[in-house]
């Protein structure tokens, strides 16, 4: 009889160990699955993350990112803590990205810098709200509008915030078509939005396309070595693409490798979202600040666009400034759409894609400089 009771009690241990925090997190995981599948918000990420949240919060399963020896812990230690996964994602991104529109109109690259200003403004805000410097930097980097960069910085300095920062970064990237347009319309007049820009893409020689990632990688890494893993992988991927002789490697990088890493990354992030460290007021603040960061990126980008319009005597449409974020290619499509709403003859896509590509480079540079300054000041990661 005792044996029977012991056996039965072992079968209900899971239910007995379920806390209210775990239950809420399981429901949250289900919500992420709903958003990914039914509403199609970044399903490639939200579905693995959502499932990871469920698996990681089921008691006694050993599937959280922190359960030593568990399969997800193995992936977490080897891919997240080593920063390998974000770097591999950047390799795939580099293989996918076409810098041609930007090379044909290099001045749009400057929008890629303005599109990062929100990061630093949010940093101030986060510090005022009581976050320590390491946390403030990790939260502010959500404004880079780039999941791998946000994961890279947060893993280095404030690992506990990784789940919240990752979810915020990826969610807001998919919400760019909702976040940006009202800000773009509020800061510009219809006349400004209707400005026609030169049609057609200015093509550059293949040599320029091949040399650009090589030169950019060398220059940016010399300026900010701490960004080397991300920038190096991004430029390697692009160099392989443009070389024209590595089709097999490019195909694998942009599809199979990216898909595998996306799956594992999402699973690990989800499984690291445990009730104890996620269900805090701090998490809500992270989400609010992340949204503010991206909104401020758009504000500063559009304001630079307005300045460029004045400098170029009306040749630049200020909407282009909104494409200077790293949300590639969503921001470019938003700019195209808003431009056409104001003027059906307007075709801003090539210019916007150029600015968007500049934003990709700008976000990595901004992150690299922040890391360099933190390192130079001797600021250690949080335990």
């Amino acid at each position: 009889m005792d044996v029977l009771i012991s056996a039965l009690s072992s079968l209900v241990q899971g239910f007995a160990s379920l806390t209210w925090q775990s239950a809420i997190m399981v429901l949250l995981g289900c919500l992420l699955l709903y958003l990914g599948i039914a509403r199609k918000f970044e399903p490639l990420l939200l579905v693995p993350i959502g499932f990871g949240v469920i698996l990681g919060n089921l008691p006694l399963a050993g599937l959280s990112a922190y359960d030593k020896g568990g399969i997800i812990n193995l992936l977490y230690n080897s891919g997240i803590l080593t920063e390998l996964f974000p770097c591999l994602l950047f390799l795939g991104l580099g293989a996918m990205i076409d810098f041609g529109p930007m090379l044909g109109n290099p001045r749009v690259l400057i929008f890629g810098a303005a599109g990062q200003f929100g990061i630093f403004l949010t940093l101030f805000l986060a510090l005022q709200l009581g976050f320590v410097r390491q946390e403030a930097v990790s939260i502010a980097i959500i404004g880079a509008c780039d999941g791998p960069t946000a994961i890279y910085v947060t893993t280095k300095y404030a690992r506990e915030l990784l789940p919240a920062v990752s979810i915020a970064a990826y969610s807001y990237m998919s919400l760019v078509p909702i976040i940006q347009p009202p800000i773009m319309r509020a800061l510009t007049t219809k006349k400004e939005r209707a400005i026609l820009m030169e049609l057609g893409e200015k093509k550059v020689s293949q040599r320029v396309k091949i040399l650009f990632p090589l030169v950019t990688g060398i220059v940016t890494i010399l300026i900010a070595p701490m960004g080397a893993p991300l920038m190096g992988m991004l430029m390697l991927g692009n160099f392989m693409r443009e070389s024209g002789v590595l089709e097999r490697l490019v195909n694998v990088s942009e599809s199979t490798l990216t898909n595998i890493v996306t799956l594992f990354l999402g699973l690990c992030i989800g499984a690291s979202m445990l009730g104890g460290n996620f269900l805090r007021w701090q998490t809500i603040l992270v989400f609010i600040l992340g949204l503010i960061a991206i909104a401020l990126d758009t504000v500063t980008g559009v304001l630079l666009g307005k300045l460029m319009r004045v400098i170029t005597k009306g040749k630049i449409n200020p909407l282009l400034g909104a494409a200077g974020t790293s949300a590639f290619p969503m921001s470019a499509r938003v700019v195209q759409k808003e431009g056409q709403k104001a003027n059906p003859r307007s075709f801003l896509l090539f210019h916007a894609v150029g600015a968007n590509a500049g934003g990709q480079i700008g976000s990595v540079m901004a992150a690299a400089v922040m890391l360099a300054i933190m390192s130079g000041m001797g600021i250690a990661p949080l335990p």
């Binding site: 400057i110 990062q116 550059v204 320029v208 220059v219 700008g362 400089v369």
Partner: protein
């Protein structure tokens, strides 16, 4: 260093270096385009 000074340092250096780097890249791209202009036989491609 106080928090506001930290934030200001980050902003000035962060935005400054990012702007300068991207401006430098703009110049390098223009140089590359001048050194390696698109040839006529590339006109028909992609």
């Amino acid at each position: 260093m106080k928090d506001w000074a930290f934030g200001l340092t980050m902003t000035i250096l962060g935005m400054g270096v990012t702007f300068i780097t991207l401006y430098l890249l703009t110049l390098l791209i223009r140089l590359l385009i001048k050194l390696f202009p698109r040839k006529e036989d590339e006109e028909g491609e992609g």
